[in-house]
Symmetry: C2
Subunit: 311 residues, 2 copies
Amino acid sequence: MNPLSIRVRHRLPIEAAIQELGYVPHGAARALASRHSRIVGALFPSLDSVLFGSFIGPLQRALSAQGYTLVVASSDYDPQVEYRQVFNLVANRVDGVVLVGTEHSEACYDLLNQKQIPYVLTWTWQENSDRPMIGFCNRSAAAMVANYLLDVGHRDIAMISGFTTGNDRATERIAGVRAALSARHVQLNESWVVQRPFSLSQGASAFRELMTSPTRPTAIICGSDLFACGAIFEAARMGIRVPEDVSITGFDDTDLAAGISPSLTTIRTPRSEMARLTAQNLLDSFRGQKPRSMELKVELVVRESSGRACR
Amino acid sequence: MNPLSIRVRHRLPIEAAIQELGYVPHGAARALASRHSRIVGALFPSLDSVLFGSFIGPLQRALSAQGYTLVVASSDYDPQVEYRQVFNLVANRVDGVVLVGTEHSEACYDLLNQKQIPYVLTWTWQENSDRPMIGFCNRSAAAMVANYLLDVGHRDIAMISGFTTGNDRATERIAGVRAALSARHVQLNESWVVQRPFSLSQGASAFRELMTSPTRPTAIICGSDLFACGAIFEAARMGIRVPEDVSITGFDDTDLAAGISPSLTTIRTPRSEMARLTAQNLLDSFRGQKPRSMELKVELVVRESSGRACR
DNA sequence: GCCCATTCTGTAAGCGCTTGCAATACGGTC
DNA sequence: GACCGTATTGCAAGCGCTTACAGAATGGGC
């Protein structure tokens, strides 16, 4: 008799019984016994934004395809909340954790290290860091935008940025712009760098503020497409022409960037690729392989919202 | 000696030791022993969309405040995937499940019932259903829009809708428009009801299609703000004036609706309230209280993108 | 038909907690 | 100081699975 035949002979009736009785394995029991939960936790600064949505989807798909479940949490940009959420994830003994950016309290890192839970930092890239990272360099991405604007003649450049406190991405983007300007002997006017909570309407009001100041910038670099779209909408309301009167650039290349009129010059950030690679990185860790950090390329997408400086 | 003093005397050094040793309770062990996981699962048709983002955030916050963790999953509008995801949630022995809409396979409902896992259907409302529901009536919401357009003289009304297969919200919205028109002896031209995947660019292309047909509608009811914004952008590109040449309405009142120019007439759906009440509903179930279904009110927000029919 | 290398099956221990019960300590009362 | 009800502690069982190991069955080679 074939050695497999027994297995086969038994498998069918057993599977029938499983169906019949409606047996569903008990994840917690399995997790307890096997010492891994097949759950991955992802902690975002905010869940409300569109931005992270286009990351969660692919991440969830990639993990799900390998039998992993995704838990999401948000810190609301608050380190206290963040620690609580990490603790929560650890308490649930997630097999791995996805974090956004590098700025997290020591306590968070300690907790993960102590419990030996692999984690990945995303949405950011730092050379020579020993932390696992899958992301792009916010500094050079911002510098790309700045250099492009300098190339087409802009010198009076303003920024609408997210809050930099605890947000290394925002910090790096400002630093990137500042460095790019410096390299061309242009100084970034710090009073033209405004920080706002990420939203369309905040982008609009920041734009209005900048454009009603005594001297107007000729170009505005926005730290997110949301800001940029808010600015474009506000420009329309104020009768300011884009890009003739002012160039506006975004960050992320969301659907909106291509759709809006004038279409938005922006930086395309590789969110779904980042999600896939992040999942892969963790899965490698789970399999005992050394996870690979990776710097992803971003791309400047020049569209209608930017052009030659008018003065 | 005070009976409490022992407790107090012991508590401090014990808590110190907990800190010291970095003890983190083991969720799986707790779940196994206590027979509840303190995890709630939410299953969305899609995670990519902005739409559900503004629901997940408040939901997660509300649950987190009560010590519950949120697991998200997406079905990609595929019943097969949906069943697998529900199975997954059940396998993880979530304490409760959040589902979107009413259309789910019997198998899904059976699984939840058999394992006695409380669930809530959201984003939808049906009178006389015995299923727990927290949502709004898509049919009457759509009828509100249609009645408004009829009131301002429109008779040639088109729709850009999501796919109706497996999506009761889309189905109901079309039905609502059809019924409202019928009641005024206007017939909905079925060839003017186009179904598309939810996205900005699909809204744009559907708009172009409708506006290049031999006879043009004077108003277009969109099943989502995303469609409507796509349509508005496309109108700008085609040199079609909104609302002078065509009125456009949306659904959901996302940030974009107020920001876009012309600003969008739309239906405000109470997403964060829905999230809070959904959480409350489940928490009530967990505490053995009878959960309360609730119909939420939606509101027609008339802005610039709609107006009197021109002919 | 015997032996061996496999594959398969059965069994027991234990993952880290909760829960209920029995045992004990406690403070107050008479 | 004996007694009582209450607060606290200690202990053991068990949640539903995995895992490791011992033991049995299997089929092929000689």
